[in-house]
Symmetry: C2
Subunit: 368 residues, 2 copies
Amino acid sequence: MKKFYIAKARRLRGTPFSSRIEDQGLTAYTTYNHMLLPAAFEGTEKEYFHLKKYVQVWDVAAERQVQIIGKDSAKLVQLMTCRNLSKSKVGRCYYAPIIDEQGKMINDPIILKLDENKWWISLADSDVGLYAKGLASGLKLQVEVSEPDVNILAVQGPKSFKLMEKVLGPKINKLKFFSFDYFTFKGNKFFIARSGWSKQGGFEVYVKDREAGLNLYDELFLAGKEFNIKPGCPNLIERIESGLLSYGNDFDNGDNPFECGFDQYIDIESDINYLGKKALAQISKGGIKRKLMAVKIDLDKIEIMEEKPLQNGKSLIGHLRSAVYSPNFKKVVGIAMIKKEFWDKKTTFELELNGKKSKGSVCDLPLV
Amino acid sequence: MKKFYIAKARRLRGTPFSSRIEDQGLTAYTTYNHMLLPAAFEGTEKEYFHLKKYVQVWDVAAERQVQIIGKDSAKLVQLMTCRNLSKSKVGRCYYAPIIDEQGKMINDPIILKLDENKWWISLADSDVGLYAKGLASGLKLQVEVSEPDVNILAVQGPKSFKLMEKVLGPKINKLKFFSFDYFTFKGNKFFIARSGWSKQGGFEVYVKDREAGLNLYDELFLAGKEFNIKPGCPNLIERIESGLLSYGNDFDNGDNPFECGFDQYIDIESDINYLGKKALAQISKGGIKRKLMAVKIDLDKIEIMEEKPLQNGKSLIGHLRSAVYSPNFKKVVGIAMIKKEFWDKKTTFELELNGKKSKGSVCDLPLV
C-alpha cells in the first residue's frame, strides 16, 4: 500500500507532547477529534510485544473532554446515553454509548463524574460537544458545555503499576479499575484514572498544566528505564484481540448499541430519560439482525480502509471492518458486523482482496 | 520540519476518487470531517501557479453534506445561522456562519437550498450534523438529519469554464456565481454549483452515483488535456491571498463572527430566530476588541502548527494563525487575529520563530 505524508496545520492540533514523541521515533500520525494522535513508532508488531511485556507512555491528548457543568448537567449527560447513570458516583468512570434519537451510535466515551454538577465525557472521534450544545439550547438547560485544555497521557502495560508507584507513591495502586483520584508530583496535582485503551493494565493521567505535564512525561521516561519504557500508542493488534471497539472503524452512526454488543450498558426498563429510548425498546422487542463479532482469516498480512464483504458461498454473511495480522494467532484477526443467520461460531467465509480469495471463520469477542 | 506518514484506517474515510488521485502523484493528505482530503501533489507553489493559469480537479469529498429535510427544516437551518435566510431561494448557495448560543463560531459552511423543505449544509471541518440532531431532538422538530453519500469534485481555475462547457455543454456557463442546477453527462444527472474554495473561478460537482462520478472524473482529465488540467487541492497560498478563511486554522469556537469579518452575514435587526442572537446583539453594542486581518512578514519560508504571538515592542498586538510564503509578494503572507488598538494598517510587528525575529506589518483582507 502506498504511503502518504500528513499535511500539518493548526486545524489538526498538536498536543503538549508532540515535540517529545516526534523526537522519540514517531513515524506516523492519525487524527482524532481534530488533533494529532500518534499511530506508529517502531511498527505495530514490535509495539504489540513490548506493550504486553513492559510499559508504554501514550500521548492520547486527542481523547478530548467535553466538560458539562451546571445544575442540569446530570440531566444532560443522561439524555445522551442509554447507560443508567442515576446511581453513578463521584470519582468513577463509566463506559457509555452515546446515541441519537434513532438509537444509533454517536460515540462510545468514558464518562467521568467529577462532582454532582461536573462531568467530563472522554471522547472517541466525534464532536459530542456540539450534540450537547444543541440539546442544551433546545431544552434551555442550565449548563455550560466546553472543551477544557486537558491532555491525557496514558501509561499502559504490565509494568505500569511499578512505574507509577515509583513516581507517584504507593497510593496509586489502591486505585480500583475505572476509578480516579488526585495525585501530586513535584507540587502539581494530577487527576489520574485507572483506565486506558488496552487490556494490559495501566492509568490515564489527565494533564491540566502543560509544563507540569511535560515534567511528569520526562520523569516517567527517566524512572521507567529499568522497566524498559517506550513511547507508544493504541495498538491495533492488542485492541482487536482484546475486543476494544473503535468508533468510526468497527461501528458508526449506522449501527445501534445492541449490534455493538453494548447490552450491559443499555437500560430500557427503568424510568430514566434519554434520547433514543423508544427506538432502543423497539429494537430490543424485535431483536437485532446483526452484531459485531471477531473473525480469523488465513492471511499473513492485511490492510483495509473500508468495510469488505464476507461471503459464504452465495450468501453475504457480513462485513469486515477492522483487521490486522496477529503474531499470536499467526493469522489475521478482525472485527466484523455479522448477520444473525451466521452467528454460529462455526460459520466460515471467503474474503476477496485484490482478486485473491482467503478463508476465515467467525468467533466470539474478545479473542483473548 | 520533520515529516510523518498518515496512518490510514476505515475511520478516516477514503473517497470515491482516492484511488485516482493516489495514482496521479498525490504526496500528502490531511483529514477533514473524518475523511481524507488531498493536501499536496507537486508542491504548494507549483500548484499555486498552475491553479491561477489553468484548471484543476479537486477531490473535496471531505466537504461533507448535512442533509436536513422535513417540515421544520427551514426553521432548524435558520436556528443555527446568524445569516437571514428568510428570503432564500431554491437553487442558491449561501455562505453562512454557524454559531452557538454564546455567539461563537461552530462552522462556516455553504448552505444550499434544494427545496423549500430540503437543505444541504456543505461543511467546513466540524460535526454540525450532531449540533442539528441535538437541536432537533431538544425542540422536537419535524426533521430528518443525515449525511448523504454525496462527494464533491471541484473544478477550479480560469480554464474551468471552457473545460466544463466542452464536457457538459454551453448551459453550464449560464450558471451564476453561487447558483446551482442539474446537468447531464452520459445519461447521469449531476448537481453542479458555480462555487469552490478558490477565487480563480470554477464549479463544484455534487456526485451522488460513485460510478458515474468516476466516469466524469476520467472524462474531465481526457477533455482537459488541451487546457493543461492537473489534479489539485485547496491551495494555501491562493486561499490566504484571496482571504478565504479556514475554520480550525484562522478561527474556531473561541471566536465570534464579527471578529472573523462576517458582518454582512449577520442579521440582528429583523425578527428571525436563531441561537446566539442575543449574544451577537450584545457584542455588536459593545464593539469587538479584535478581528482577523492579513499580515505580511519578511521571511522566505514558514510553517506554523499553532498560533504565534506578534509583538510591537512590549505590546502583544495579536496572534498569527495561518501563514505561507507567497511567490507573488515575495514575502510570507498570513491571517492573524489583531487587537483593536493595532488595526491601523501601518502597524508593524515582530514575530519570533525558533529564536529568530522577523518583521512584519498588518494589512486588510483580502491581500489581492
